[in-house]
């Protein structure tokens, strides 16, 4: 039945005051994705707290402390489906940990819905959300101008806000922007179009989520295959089998293609593309496959197979990156950390803190140190060469995490410049 549907991952950015929870609740409710037992559970809680209406935000509060304190602590993932698409919503809390949580959720998102209160227009937080979306390379932005009911569904007000947002967004590298006037409270332009926004000709929010083209969000040009695991069955039947298992992160590959192994630079030809469901002639991102080569060359986890293309990856021990610091312990420039980039983990040093970005004003400041939620331009030195692209070319081969070896915590996320 729905076997030909695509998967769209999106996040919502905005505070409770903008009606974010109400919007998610409305999407789930009107697309019939809330179950009776869930609804009766949150109805009971709402009643217990003496609220007049059912608080749909309770749907996403999963932890005891959150329900007790009426706050959201962490990114929660919600799932719903329509006959056209499957959706994963990354719901992020809107308070002080915001940067860390939004960066986490945005890293896997195809699309971000940025909520604006029509009465308030473009605020500091709108800029922050848009900046983080552009920093994390979220391909599509939807500006949801909510609470249109509070401004008499005014077309003029909508156009003012869109105009202001357009001037701001032009400073950033967000390209695919869609603006929708809506009222989450009344359900106008969320799932149903409603009767109040006849002057708006574009799609309602769900229709846009169902139809926006996401096939090209993956880099289809430059073949990138980080080797995850070497498959050597060593059985009688597969005595000489030596396959390189991994996920194609970008581009495509066919049997007979010449590939280069990086960082060694040796070349060979693709002999077979093996999957459980049979051998393939061609495979493409983001398929997980096992590749065998015509020549016996030394390849192990952390190496990358590429094809020659207009944009060869870099193979270097030093590079610059935008870094988001995620840990309560600040960055210590004197210490060595671990970098995990694709399937390779290596020691690193932060050789320079170039500048820190104020996510509210987008101003650059000199960076002495980095604390949690700080975003900065840094230079890194790695103990061994990494095979990478810039993040703007490829999210998978341009991103890395930083791990503190003492605690094993993930302390930062990086996007290679």
């Amino acid at each position: 039945m729905s076997n030909a549907t695509q998967l769209l991952r999106f996040i919502t950015a905005g505070s409770v005051d903008d009606g974010k929870s109400t919007l998610i609740g409305r999407l789930l409710h009107d697309s019939k994705s809330i179950f009776e037992d869930q609804f009766s559970a949150i109805s009971k809680t709402s009643e217990k707290r003496g609220m007049g209406a059912v608080d749909l935000s309770l749907l996403t509060d999963g932890l005891q402390a959150e329900r007790e304190q009426g706050i959201t602590i962490d990114v929660a993932y919600r799932y719903f489906a329509t006959p056209k698409r499957k959706f994963i919503i990354g719901d992020t809390p809107g308070h002080e940990q915001y940067t860390r949580n939004m960066v986490t959720a945005a890293s896997t998102a195809n699309l971000v819905v940025i909520l604006i209160d029509a009465r308030k227009g473009v605020l500091v937080q709108t800029r922050r959300h848009t900046y983080l979306a552009s920093l994390l390379g979220v391909p599509h932005v939807v500006l949801a101008v909510n609470k249109m009911d509070m401004v008499d569904y005014s077309k003029q007000r909508f156009e003012e806000i869109v105009g202001e947002y357009k001037r701001f967004a032009a400073q950033l590298n967000v390209h695919d922007v869609h603006c929708i006037p809506l009222s989450a409270l009344n359900g106008d332009m969320v799932v149903d179009r409603g009767d109040n926004l006849d002057w708006y000709q574009g799609p309602a929010l769900l229709e846009l989520l169902e139809t926006i083209a996401i096939d090209r969000d993956v880099n289809t040009d430059d073949f990138r295959f980080p080797v995850q695991w070497v498959c050597r069955p060593q059985t009688d039947e597969h005595h000489d089998f030596r396959g390189f298992a991994g996920r194609i992160e970008a581009g495509e590959v066919s049997v007979g293609d010449e590939v280069t192994v990086l960082p060694s630079g040796r070349t060979s030809k693709v002999r077979e593309i093996v999957t459980y469901d049979g051998k393939l002639q061609t495979a493409f991102a983001p398929q997980s496959v096992t590749i065998t080569l015509a020549d016996e060359i030394d390849i192990s986890r952390g190496d990358m197979l590429v094809k020659s293309s207009a944009h060869p990856p870099k193979v270097e021990k030093e590079f610059e990156a935008m870094l988001c610091w995620l840990s309560e312990a600040p960055l210590d420039k004197n210490r060595k950390y671990l970098v995990k980039h694709t399937t390779r983990t290596a020691k690193c040093l932060f050789s320079k803190l170039d500048y820190r970005v104020d996510v509210n004003t987008l101003e650059q400041h000199a960076a002495e140190k980095l604390n949690m939620n700080d975003i900065a331009r840094v230079a890194l030195k790695i103990q061994q060469p990494l095979v990478f692209d810039s993040y703007e070319i490829d999210r998978a081969t341009g991103s890395f995490i930083v791990i503190d070896e003492a605690t094993n915590n993930t302390v930062a996320a990086g996007m290679i410049a």
Binding site: F35, E36, Q171, W229
Partner: protein
């Protein structure tokens, strides 16, 4: 990925192209796919799960795959075949047996492990009871809370540093907040407020000695995805998932299957109902739903129209409080 740039120098520079056209609240980059590939949501979920399993195999020293014979763990086995064949799995299968399981499920567990030729380790709650590490207060009560004890003992016995499980985020709201690679301390505890950030598909698999990671490769699958995948892959699952006639009693709003563990109390009547199980677990607390769905397609149809969540309908142990699952996970449950 053209038209997608990271703002590495965020301010001041004005990006000239492409011009934003907000006239109709819309900006044109609406490109139809130029590729002929059809990559469905099931393909995307499958590839993600394979990628996760391979990360575990490559980075963890001594992993295991928790396998119960239920539908989610059967999907996990197929994903493991896709990730590692033609080689053997680079980890054993492990089942923590409450001995409150449905016999059909145990039979399926043993058959699948044997057919695949993979190593199956079974550790029973009875072992822990004999050792005295589990003291059962009421023998008729569900045994799920005690599973954590035997699981942690098994992890210690074999020195597992990573255990893959078939839990999904759509099952339960505490699970919705859990990472795919979920770090546990040496007591097996989950600290929901102090989870490692998880970005892109770059997973932090590192632990110190004695600690371990629970890994959930099908975190992003829903109940519907599982059924569609069972249909697509033609997976063999225990027959009690399909509609059948069964002796049940009605107790406290639940339909409870009659078994050697659950007998009618005075005043309760045994009736025969046409039911199927949406989840299979401890026989004393897993309720079937009334259903006539006898094929995977019929179950998919029923799943698409049901108004009750999977665990809401069937897990009496989750109904005791809003936080039952969270509390169990903090104690080491997967």
């Amino acid at each position: 990925m053209s038209g997608l740039l990271v703002a590495d120098r965020p301010v001041r520079s004005i990006v000239p192209e492409p011009a934003l056209d907000l006239k109709h609240g819309n900006i044109g980059n609406e490109r139809e796919s130029m590729t002929a590939h059809t990559f469905t949501h099931l393909d995307a979920l499958e590839s993600e799960s394979i990628h996760i399993m391979r990360e575990v195999a490559a980075e963890c020293k001594n992993p295991a795959l928790l396998f119960s014979g239920g539908k989610d763990s059967i999907v996990m086995l197929r994903l493991a075949e896709k990730a590692f064949r033609p080689a053997k799995f680079p980890f054993p299968l492990v089942h923590i047996d409450t001995e409150h399981n449905f016999p059909e499920v145990i039979a399926c567990r043993d058959k699948l492990a044997a057919d695949l030729g993979e190593r199956l380790i079974v550790r029973s709650l009875e072992d822990s009871i004999r050792r005295g590490t589990i003291v059962i207060k009421d023998p008729d009560k569900p045994r799920n809370p005690y599973q954590s004890v035997t699981l942690l003992e098994t992890i210690a016995e074999f020195g597992f540093d990573a255990c893959m499980g078939g839990a999904r985020r759509d099952e339960e709201k505490a699970r919705a907040k859990e990472r795919i690679f979920s770090f546990r301390d040496e007591f097996g505890q989950w600290d929901p407020k102090n989870q490692r950030p998880e970005l892109w598909d770059t997973y932090n698999t590192r632990v110190h000695n004695g600690e371990n990671i629970r890994v959930f490769p099908i975190s992003n699958w829903t109940e519907m995805d599982i059924w569609e995948y069972i249909g697509r892959e033609k997976l063999h699952i225990p027959e009690i998932y399909f509609a059948h006639e069964r002796e049940v009693i009605r107790r406290g709003g639940n339909v409870i299957p009659v078994s050697h563990l659950v007998q009618p109390r005075p005043g309760e009547k045994i009736e025969v109902a046409t039911v199927r199980f949406r989840t299979v677990g401890d026989m004393t607390c897993t309720a079937p739903v009334e259903s006539t769905a006898r094929t995977v397609d019929e179950i998919i149809e029923e799943t698409a129209t049901t108004r009750i969540t999977e665990r809401g309908a069937t897990r009496m142990d989750d109904q005791t409080s809003d936080a039952s699952m969270e509390l169990r996970k903090k104690e080491g449950y997967f």
